[in-house]
Symmetry: D2
Subunit: 120 residues, 4 copies
């Protein structure tokens, strides 16, 4: 089953690589440019939440939710492209980071504590 | 098999939700805050490429590649959390966006053309 | 008096240029790298507001306000460096943009209207 | 003469405050929202350098240089607004940071050394 888990990201990544190769765009996709692009797309995502208070950001209209989902897709696309270009296993790295967070923030010590949460 | 494809992201997302709930951190994870957090993590990723020329960014040391992979994990974690909070199907949105890009950028018209690439 | 107005930014800019030259760092300060650095410093500024609701962000402790002021200084430093490298008159550009905004958003039409404010 | 130096930023800041008040937009300009807005504008600036190598970013066309100058103005506007809302003296903070950098990076130790430059 682990093979299947990796499968999705690998398939998406291959499709994005084929997309770039068909357009001869691999020459533009240096890791630095992809990281910068990811930052730019993250900011376009943030733009949807620019002037709201945080609680209001829970209730998006269907139109907004769709727009937000496509901005998130852009972030994901650059993340997958960057992983592919740097030969990084995004899933393995994410599991490593989650495990690190689980041991770094023991539930009993940090529960509901925004100050502690703020300090990393 | 499509069930399995969705499976990975869904499992990761559930694990991240449990992590937040156990720490009573869901109160901090308003979509606006998660989008801002994603932007911040994207910038920490970008920091690894701050002073290099783009071609040099291809060749990271093993230590740098590992650090970069963990920054990418942070971006991915906030992306999954945001999708979960907004009830967005990240995989479906990504496929929609890829299909949109494939029709918006016909290979024959944009091949190797950085000017066209620059204009969106 | 206009000479004096320009004076401050020009003096800061000259001091930053001298700082970079003395360290032979001009080679790293290509406009692309400075723009990326500005984005990174902007994110470090944003980190101070990551988990608060917007209203709470009004009331920083003295320590936080000092830290925030130094992050803002970093943004300003890269902004001045970029202006110097691209031979851009930041003050003139800012006045042009303010005038543009004043005509683009007539007070009578947009007063208190967050929807309109949201749409640019 | 120091009065005149401060004068420019203060005058710009007052004009931006009047602009916001006339439109009843002060309610949206919580520090968190202004910091997020600054990050978004910084990313729009970065978009102009997305696919170039760093050396190529030196030579912008006149049209690009003008567009870049207006994006920089947007960053500066939010920086001044944020300083005003938090009652921060941006000029004093910048001088403090420059002095800190001058002592933190002695020219003799860091000259031309991108590794050292990379490590902060």
């Amino acid at each position: 089953m682990d093979d299947y888990r990796q499968d999705t990201l690998e398939k998406l990544s291959q499709r994005l690589l084929a997309f770039a190769r068909e357009r001869d765009w691999e020459q533009f996709h240096a890791p630095k440019n992809l990281a910068l692009s990811l930052m730019i797309e993250a900011a376009e995502l943030g733009e949807h939440f620019q002037w709201q208070d945080s609680p209001a950001s829970e209730t998006l209209s269907e139109v907004q939710r769709h727009e937000v989902s496509l901005e998130m897709a852009d972030v994901f696309i650059y993340l997958l492209r960057l992983a592919q270009r740097l030969d990084i296993d995004l899933l393995a790295a994410t599991l490593e980071k989650i495990e690190h967070n689980e041991s770094r923030y023991p539930a009993d010590k940090v529960r509901g504590d925004s100050r502690k949460y703020n300090q990393y």
